[in-house]
Amino acid sequence: MSLDSKIPSGPMALRWSKHKQDSKLINPKNKRKYTVIVVGSGLAGSSAAATLSELGYKVKCFCFQDSPRRAHSIAAQGGINAAKNYQNDGDSVHRLFYDTVKGGDFRARESNVHRLAEESVNIIDQCAAQGVPFAREYGGGLANRSFGGAQVSRTFYARGQTGQQLLLGAYSALNKEVARGGVEMHTRSEMLEVVVVDGHAKGIITRNLMTGKIEAHAADTVLLCTGGYGNVFYLSTNAMGCNVTATWRAHRKGAYFANPCYTQIHPTCIPVSGDYQSKLTLMSESLRNDGRIWVPKNKADIGKPAAQIPESDRDYFLERKYPSFGNLAPRDISSRAAKDACDAGLGVGPGGRGVYLDFAEAIGQFGQKTIAERYGNLFDMYEKITGESGYKQPMRIYPAVHYTMGGLWVDYNLMSSLPGLHVLGEANFSDHGANRLGASALMQGLADGYFVIPTTIAPYLVTQTPGSVTTSHPEFTKALEDAQGRTNKFLNVKGKRSVDSFHRELGLLVWDKCGMARDKAGLTEALKRIPELREEFWSNVKIPGSGAAANPELEKAGRVADFMEFAELLCHDALDREESCGGHFRTEHQYDDGEAKRDDENYCYAAAWEHTGDLSKPKLNKEQLTFEEVHLSVRSYK
């Protein structure tokens, strides 16, 4: 199948307005006849469900948590970008667009990024009107802070919990629509399968996580807003339940998976402390506004208390390597620099896997009170987890898996290669290229949900007769049987190892071979070991209890089984991409100074993988990327 990205023609800055004007409308009477399934209640899902319901569509929304408010978006700390230029520091839609394309290392689709930058300003208006308590200045206007990869101050925030506040805003809009009867909300419901009828996505199969009941739901179109797949690495900053199941199941039914190898490693996370560890905790990148990152220059200083190491014996390596961006260099670059320092034997803390994030200077300059006002909750969190105070000694940080730029391939209308299946938020691939800048995932999730899909869903729906497929269709019966069969299969293995033990082993393998640095030999080895591990999983996993009641082990088994398949595609993609770009660093492809070496001649494409039925032989489809506005150049932050 050829990939038609459906990018509108005309000048970049006018494309989205033109597209909106040209898009078909559905009259209000008819809208009511269409049912839309929204899987996911994070920023993307809640905002889409609420807005589509406002427009008059019948919406059914699903999440696996006990309340839509608990979707993983809740955990975002730092902020959300918007080209408001409230600081009068020269920001504009064009500059946000430019920074995002460059930040993505020229592997994003320009037209989508431009649309994102345009909508960014509307998001802030919408959220402020909902009562989202953004930080404000004394005059009553909104405050901003700076984030990595930008030289203007365009990030809006709500203390250290921007994600929670934006999600509560979207959740309140969702609640308003639930109350009005426009949205039917299904919590503790996990999607197990997409149902495809005559080549179109027409529904889903879910499992009720309280009763174990497997159910079918039909609709005229399905939206996946199910977040990222970072937990394939087991340890990540993602919530425990984050999974690839929804997107992977859709992939198996025909949706192409694009750029899975673009994974983001966040530089400021609390280092691993032991093998019982279940997750890693991120501390907002905003800390890098005031904290300075360093390691000792001499190995002899490594065990010493930081205060005893004189200024002259410290290497502020980001400031040294990237003088114009300093501690605010983009994430991929900062993470790799920290890894390099630790690989050189200069890391601090247990296992030598850590670098200092030091606030002594900022506390000296502004006082502890001001620093506490800015980051108090992060300092508290650090202290709870490590038992150490970041006010008294430098924090220790190390990079951790955080975000996934890859996802299901979508066209400009956010429709995947499986007709009728739309994909929003972190679950799709489009806007961040090979690296996402801070504070832009929240922006993308809300842009997709509030402003893009409400327009772009109509062109698909007008081609469909509303309600033409119901759950009595044989495809639903078959999908129900398949899902039940899979549950029974899990329970019948009756092996010896827990699901977690497999997940941990898979994660370590993928982190080791396909983490911050990758090479051909390692990837080839991973491609050999993943299928072996998968086979062992299916013959030796042990799942207690039954399928007919709440059973967290069974839920985890379904997710890990999908990670086991997905990991293979991740490594295939990383192996295929013989270049370094953004979060994908192939050690074979670097400049003499260790910077990533892109190959625009051969790899300036989005890799959209097609499921062939044989996991070892996925088929590669390419969407060639063209850069009309931001010219391809070496990404430099020096």
Binding site: D66, A129, R136, K176, P544, A549, A550
Partner: protein, 262 residues
């Protein structure tokens, strides 16, 4: 790092059936582990030994989603101030301790399994008015609504509530007043929330009563248990807003809104 040997007394229950405490040994637990990681270790061993692992809710494990919910030694979220269960670390316990682990108990929070409870009542309370009716795309420029820093900061204090339900679990009456007052209070104190203030207040309070939460008798156990340190001052504000709204309703009637979606 040191290792702890602990004696757990864990509540076990299947939906709709009576529950009981089970004695579980938790040996050699690293003191750097979080409470939930301790439970993971316990579960891993239960699975190995052919037992039934303990079901509990959790997701973010960083104190923000509000999913984790254990009553530890009789205190919702355990002994550490301003800390969720997932952020509680084992270094707060001593070798040889006996630890009681129970679900968040309340009539309005029925047990799903073991330590998992159903808190959907909280969603329904917010559906009864916890929002500002503004359509997507119909918002004015954000800086056209000025909000003084003090007002914004206070609204933010209330908005920090993570909807965990510890306030309910810690209250002898199982009252949800702290939660409801934080949710209503955030919007009721902002200019954006003024037009629907009375309707919101009445709607949320009445739904709370309908869900079977108890009355607030000013015990303030809720404030002590709240991981986000929501202040009981919000309860005072809610009582005031409620009195005003009821008085207004009695005299003038609160106008029903037209359907929002047409």
């Amino acid at each position: 790092m040191s290792l702890l040997n602990l004696q757990l007394k864990v509540w076990r229950q299947n939906q709709g059936q009576p529950g009981h405490f089970q004695d579980i040994q938790a040996l050699e637990i690293p003191d750097h582990a979080s409470f939930l990681e301790m439970m993971d270790i316990v579960n891993e061993r239960l699975i190995q030994d052919g037992g039934d692992p303990v079901a509990f809710d959790h997701d973010c494990r960083e104190g923000i989603c509000g999913m984790c919910s254990m009553t530890i030694n009789g205190i919702a979220h355990g002994p550490e101030k301003a800390t969720t269960t997932c952020q509680l670390h084992m270094r707060k316990f001593r070798d040889g301790d006996t630890i009681w682990v129970e679900p968040f108990r309340a009539k309005a929070f029925p047990v799903v399994k073991d330590l998992m409870v159903n808190r959907s009542a909280f969603d329904r309370i917010q559906q009864a008015g916890g929002f500002v009716t503004v359509r997507t795309g119909a918002a004015p420029d954000a800086n056209s609504i000025l909000v003084g820093k003090e007002v914004a900061d206070a609204a933010m204090d209330a908005a920090a509530c993570i909807g965990c339900g510890a306030c309910v679990a810690s209250c002898k009456n199982a009252s949800a007043m702290l939660f409801v007052s934080a949710k209503a209070g955030q919007l009721n104190s902002l200019p954006q929330g003024q037009p629907e203030k009375n309707r919101r207040t009445l709607g949320m309070v009445r739904q709370m009563d309908k869900e079977g939460f108890g009355n607030c008798t000013n015990q303030y156990e809720c404030e002590a248990a709240c991981p986000k340190e929501i202040s009981v001052r919000w309860i005072t504000k809610l009582n005031r807003d409620y009195a005003l709204a009821s008085a207004k309703e009695a005299f003038v009637g609160v106008k029903e809104h037209a359907e929002g979606g047409d």
